[in-house]
Symmetry: D2
Subunit: 349 residues, 4 copies
């Protein structure tokens, strides 16, 4: 029998805790052997909760430990690229939260390091592992609805993040739509060539003053001719709204939101149900476990991870194109974004 | 008690028959006293079916009859503008099918004639009278969902019309999306200022050869800041797909499709229901009756019709803007469309 | 071409008005030539509304008129049996509202008169013509769900009728459940052999004081082995609740309630829709027109009506059995109800 | 901080494995320290999977171990009562699968032993912990739907169990309906006084030859006046059907089935979704974890378990009454079942 894979967790915040619990409690083939965070208390709390034997003093200690097979990078975005490089150089497999970075140049340096080291890299686009979106992807991949024509993604948060976050997040296209950009590519199975963004400030004028938007429609044109739309808002009063629809030549598939229960209450006022699952921790709970399971399997069976470094890079290009489209009021080709694009070939796995 | 209103029907085709039956069987305050069509047999058939005493030899006979209060213009689009002018000059109230015309200049001449004659004019945007869309409009108008932010209209036909029709229809934006342009204005209660159309040929290459598209997403920007999308396809394999969604500051409202029954069948294969009502005759049956009822009430109570001449003109402007956007690959301001626009003021009711 | 069928309306109340409008406005092959009611004003109002040339002085005048082909008996229940007999003797076809009578003996005399006269008789079990229940019946009849095993009917009124009505109605089983007894036979396509009723007074103690119940579950055992339940309540706070479910060997079919629109409103409180259609005039509007259409076709094509006199008699037997079951706290065989049963053979069409 | 609770598992079958994984992976406050099964291989497999240090030679070894705080009895039904007695005498807290036994006398001896020892006992009626039924119970308990009037439980298995099982299970009322009997009491919050069962053999004649039924409707009369129905079938071709509905004075609440995803596929044939979650391992996964969590909390906080020994006993009485009702073709009072009833008082916690 194969020995257990040893994981270390870098970043003991909210999402780090989710991943630590998955490794500790739900994937028997793995063990968590170290955790580190700049907040030592946070690291200790997770260590106790998940039975992790060691809270490491720093990432160097983790990278230097030959017993560690893989790291989960759950620290803040600006640290991702360098940590990937260091982990790759240390020969560790890498699970990294999205986005890799806002700078294509930094992303490309990280991907090159991974490529050179030959380690596995998986980016945390967890929604690909949600049973609903898996079902939609399967419907397209198997031809159940024929050739896809139109894609519509609704992705709305229950409420905007703190202004402090918005100021450093790179803006809505990079912090929120980026998931939908990935979903669009994943579902359609083709690359986006052009983006048009119509966006505005509807929810909170302070978001506008911070230089961002809070409401947007993004039109995507795919290489295979599909036309897609993403419908984003930072505030849906009824909660977390996460749906997709695809029309194909033989039919359509659409997903509804997920709810905490399936009860319908009928009174003299209305026929109603409780609000959808809110927020991503509940709505996507299963997908977080599934993505790590897939990462472990990619390592164990030595095959490509289901969300590669390139899969992490392209949504950043799309987000930058959407931002440019919004600023210039015109459709933007993805080709326009990148002299860096020329380098893409060399790093494709 | 008020005497019955006497109607004459011009155009005894499919939609003419629907309106004749409404007048004959469902609105007791009205009577159908004449019908004419270039196909005398069609006119006779409707006359027999609906108990219309007279199949007139031509429209001149109808306009000359002082006993006739109102006409329903259901002939082909290219005849609408002139018939409106003649009817107005004869002092008849006018119900006219959409679109008025493809030429803004001809539309404006027709609207001026109506304005001068002081008769009532109502355009046949029947979907405004569908109980589902009435409910959505009410939700916005009463503030039930707060300030609207995002609008999404899905409007897909079960299959494309004959190529012969497509060649003369003015194209999808003018023959199909025009209903959705009207719906967008009606629901949001604000004017569209800019249109961006991403369109393609997905269903049938012959449609492309005929110079038209069959699949499109149109992004609308409204004066009040709302961003809207229209999702069109000439072919939905499962039938007629007619839905809208609006997100507002306090909530959202969305309508589902209408079905011939409410039965759900569960077998070893699936949990399923029958296909949606197909086609507009079934899906919008109630709205056709409601729109004429509203027209009759506007005449009886001498008030403005709920769909004015200007309401008939603006969707044509939007369609022309969408076509231009598609051709030039950029967002188009509605202002760009019309030198004619300058004349709008003079004809506003 | 066949001449129009001439109908006369007996009873100008609520349901009479519905039928008059159907004959006048929706079935071109028919004409309404007379109406009578003990309330002359009510008769006149319908005559004006529906263009009926004559308000007859009494039923005798109607039965004596050789131009009248068929009568619609919409007067109070206690008059039905005698009017059927008189109409049959006058050679008129008969559409009669349910129930025929509460007395099996009176019912049997009426059915014998119909049988002897050879006229058509249809009982007003309109729900058989509702598109939802038609779909369920079709599912069973075609084998779509295999051999039926279990039937569940939910039938709840929005609120109880006036106490005055309850005192003369024969009780809930005869005035309300009777529709469900008919529906059960119609859907399953087999006769009920045994009935068990568990009933109580939950809604209003005055109903109990009047000797009736307002809430009940009735278990039906069918000759073909199906077990059915009827779930009745005189008060559903959310409105009119009319659903059925059937489980078969290959699947199940279930119908949902009908709503005035298909809109779903999502706010910070709930995801909700408006209340179901309320009350039977709205919910079953289409079925009222369909049943008369079927009656006219049975006359025109000289075939058996889809709801015969026997179909009108059996639900009364079931109601009497349910009442006995409730009173005696035990299952009751339908055979127990009737010495009269022996006569059934002679009157079967 | 409180030390971890040490659990031992007795019975390493399907449900034992579920509980072992919950204790091992999902409740950090607990540890699994021993397992035993007459099939040593099964015990070993679970031990390896869940990191259990010891596969005990027999239950005696477990009861004798002072380090063990609680046992989970997941062995065959006929062993439950004696194991409860032995565990209680050894001072262990007890989680026991349902039913306790088919004999009220054996049940009562077990409950007396628990009572005398003062240990906690919880019966595995896991469905009480399903989020859907929790929501329904809350709706009734809080008065959201007013005073309950009618309850309807649909509970159908995807297919019948092996005949060998049916021959020893005590019959459908004891092996399947027992869950619904518990659900009925739990939801309504009142005791059932009378039961009427209409049952038959519809699915497989061999089940009838084995002396059992496979399809049934059971009518329940509650002390508080509520009338309930349970709709059971051993075979629903579309899978596992688990729903409840309650009508109250202020409204109704109904739960739908649970599905593996929320996708709806529309093609030229139908508008459909995938089949419901099938079978109880998937459908009730969450409830299995929740019930053990509740058991642990009852121990830790020294309070009554949410499903007591009496809660385990009463559904057995109901099942025996249903069997008697079916055999005798009449409603049966629960009082008829038990001279043993008199002893109930002495063992009520």
């Amino acid at each position: 029998m194969k020995k257990r894979l040893n994981f270390a967790l870098i970043g003991a915040g909210r999402i780090g805790k989710v991943h630590a619990e998955t490794i500790a409690f739900r994937i028997p083939e793995t063990a968590l052997t170290a955790v580190c965070d700049i907040d030592a208390g946070a690291a200790d709390a997770i260590a106790r909760r998940c039975g992790i034997p060691r809270a490491a003093a720093g990432t160097a200690e983790i990278f230097a430990d030959p017993a560690i097979d893989a790291v989960m990078i759950c620290s803040s975005t600006n640290t991702h690229a360098n940590l990937i490089i260091e982990a790759a150089q240390a020969g560790k497999h890498i699970f990294c939260e999205k986005p890799i970075d806002h700078s294509l140049e930094k992303i490309d340096r990280a991907l090159e390091a991974v490529h050179k080291a030959g380690v596995k890299l998986q980016i945390g686009f967890n929604r690909r592992f949600d049973p609903n979106f898996v079902r939609v992807r399967r419907s397209i991949a198997t031809g159940e609805i024929g050739t896809p024509h139109l894609l519509h993604i609704v992705s709305r948060d229950p409420g905007p993040p703190p202004l402090a976050y918005i100021k450093v997040s790179g803006g809505m296209f990079l912090d929120m739509t980026i998931h939908d950009f990935d979903m669009a590519r994943f579902l359609v199975g083709s690359e986006v060539t052009e983006v048009y963004a119509a966006a505005g400030v509807r929810v909170n004028p302070d978001i506008g003053k911070a230089g961002d938007v809070d409401t947007a429609v993004i039109v995507l044109r795919f290489a295979n001719g599909v036309i897609g739309t993403i419908d984003n808002c930072r505030q849906a009063p009824y909660g977390y709204d996460q749906r997709v629809e695809v029309l194909g030549s033989l039919g359509a598939i659409a997903t509804e939101n997920c709810y905490p229960n399936r009860a319908v209450i009928s009174t003299a006022e209305s026929v109603r149900r409780d609000l959808p699952l809110n927020f991503f921790m509940e709505r996507y709970a299963e997908s977080f476990a599934n993505e790590l399971q897939a990462f472990v399997e990619a390592i164990v069976h030595d095959r490509q991870t289901p969300v590669t470094g390139l899969d992490g890079r392209i949504p950043v290009v799309m987000a930058l194109a959407a931002r440019k489209s919004h600023e210039e009021g015109r459709p933007v080709m993805l080709d326009e974004i990148a002299a860096e694009e020329a380098r893409l070939e060399t790093i494709t796995p």
